[in-house]
């Protein structure tokens, strides 16, 4: 298969690529050694030196352990919600392609509502809305879940998961629909049951088709995680906000935060490049 991209999968792809860095955007090592780039890098180095020398960074050692903890929380949020969201996205995409119409309509409505409202609003709806509703029911107060429901992170995980699932559901719908019918017919001709066909042919092929967009969406998910700080989850963004409140320093913590996120994104994208290169593709 040469994998001609169908028009169905392109539109979200374009926007995802515009908003998130993908492995193909990473520079190669030798691209830095051009005369004008060496000059630009020198200018940038002077700028970084000035920032490091003239601005206040004496607060860093004191907050280093907290920053480390915050980064771990951010990464935990990213990976848990991306995995959970993907698990939800597969059925969401699948029923939109083959499901009976009530399920199809339900999945479509879910995706439309989630994609049509801001994540911050969903987060606050879950945290403040459900959070204020739950204590009114004695059954919930007495259940084993109550200690968790009093924390803020379950709401953050829920909101991020739902949002990721809705965006991914659209991507997976396109990917499922884009798997050539001939491959599925061939699988059926081999006598595979529906489940075997799904597990061996349809899902792997769909994931393969959607992989670039999935990678981009995961980078976008990383960019969405700082929102959980607004509901008192202590991620790296919240730690930096605390620094700013404690020390009255405006810019330095934010610059460090931007640097941290750039490094995290860079590492994530490099990991995706490594993974993408490991997946064998037949040359066209």
């Amino acid at each position: 298969m040469t994998g001609v991209p169908l028009p169905d999968t392109t539109p979200p792809d374009v926007t995802t690529h515009a908003m998130a860095i993908l492995p193909e955007d990473l520079p190669t090592a030798d691209s830095f050694f051009r005369p004008h780039r060496i000059v630009l890098i020198l200018i940038a180095a002077v700028l970084v030196f000035c920032i490091a020398w003239f601005m206040r960074w004496d607060w860093i050692p004191q907050y280093l352990p907290k920053l480390g903890h915050g980064i771990i929380v951010t990464l935990a949020m990213l990976f848990s919600t991306a995995i959970l969201g993907f698990v939800l996205a597969v059925p969401l995409g699948l029923v939109q392609v083959t499901g009976p119409w009530p399920l199809k309509a339900l999945a479509k409505t879910f995706c439309t509502i989630i994609r049509g409202t801001p994540l911050l609003l969903q987060l606050w709806l879950l945290y403040y809305g459900l959070g204020s509703l739950f204590p009114q029911f004695p059954a919930i107060r007495q259940s084993f879940l109550w200690p968790y429901l009093r924390e803020s992170w379950p709401y953050g995980v829920a909101a991020l998961t739902i949002s990721f699932a809705a965006y991914e559901g659209e991507v997976m719908r396109g990917a499922f629909a884009g798997v050539p019918a001939g491959e599925l017919e061939a699988a059926r001709a081999y006598g595979m049951s529906r489940w075997t066909m799904f597990r061996r042919i349809w899902l792997p092929r769909a994931i393969h088709r959607a992989l670039p967009t999935l990678n981009g969406e995961t980078v976008l998910q990383l960019k969405a995680t700082p929102l959980v700080a607004t509901i008192t989850v202590i991620d790296v963004y919240a730690v930096i906000s605390k620094v700013r409140q404690d020390t009255y320093i405006t810019y330095e913590p934010l610059l460090l935060l931007a640097l941290i996120y750039m490094c995290l994104t860079g590492i994530l994208v490099m990991a995706f490049r490594y993974l993408e290169n490991r997946i064998p593709t037949r040359g066209a």
């Binding site: 515009a18 630009l40 049509g116 994540l119 709806l125 204020s132 509703l133 934010l254 935060l257 860079g266």
Partner: protein
């Protein structure tokens, strides 16, 4: 307390002052104004960025690449905070340098600026892809007719790339409307923040957040409808590919 009737008190959504409906609608108006302003500003930056990336010299290209890379790698929330404080500070410094007194920059202008910078990077990428999709022969033909580079741009490249850019640009519009919610974090009273204030004042959290969600959803659905019309118009004369 668990009585459902006490959870839904529709009179809270009344337009007149005891109800908060008017406040919500005003917040929605603010959101729409910022989205339109930021999107337009972003589009201007995006055209400049895309042209710079495709036709600029090596240094321009690299600077544009840095701009889009940074915006695409750093969360919008962080960028908004940085630009909000840095932008207003920088402007006041400049004004001080030229001997003007400090001005209090309106949240509206700052919000449009911030959303615009973020959108600019996104639309740079979308437009660059679209311009590259214009058949090279059309641009060469325009050049052969002796058109100046600006004229080629305004008469051929930009109109011809539009059908390719519209799906991406319409997605960016939807993203702009949703990104305005992030300005709640810097305290600008757009829809999400006023919703939270209304909910906090009345303790009817679910009602107000659902109402705001419905308003955002309505905005998205109306936008979708208009986008469909624009798309159909832009793609007329295109051979349907299947």
């Amino acid at each position: 307390m668990a009585d459902p009737a006490s959870l839904i008190n529709w009179s809270l959504l009344a337009l007149e002052p005891p109800g908060w409906g008017g406040v919500l609608l005003k917040g929605l108006m603010n959101s729409i104004v910022i989205a339109i302003g930021g999107y337009t500003f972003g589009l201007v930056l995006g055209i400049g960025g895309a042209v710079g990336k495709l036709y600029g010299g090596p240094i321009t290209r690299d600077l544009m690449e840095c701009y889009t890379t940074i915006v695409r790698a750093v969360p919008e929330l962080v960028l908004i905070l940085l630009l909000y404080y840095a932008g207003t500070d920088l402007l006041n410094h400049l004004l001080g340098l030229f001997g003007f007194s400090e001005v209090d920059i309106s949240g509206l202008a700052a919000g449009i600026f911030v959303i615009g910078i973020v959108q600019g990077a996104y639309s740079t990428e979308v437009l660059r892809g679209a311009i590259k999709a214009v058949p090279a022969g059309q641009i060469e033909a325009a050049r052969a007719y002796g058109m100046s580079p600006t004229k080629v741009m305004t008469r051929i490249t930009l109109p011809a790339m539009l059908p390719y850019a519209i799906p991406g640009l319409s997605n960016l519009w939807l993203i702009a409307t949703k990104d305005t919610a992030l300005l709640a974090v810097v305290g600008f009273s757009e829809l999400t923040l006023v919703t939270r204030q209304a909910a906090g004042a009345t303790k009817a959290y679910l009602l107000f957040f659902c109402a705001a969600g419905a308003l955002y959803l309505a905005l998205t659905l109306v936008s979708d409808f208009v986008i469909k019309i624009i798309e159909r118009r832009a793609r007329r004369g295109f051979v349907e590919q299947s």
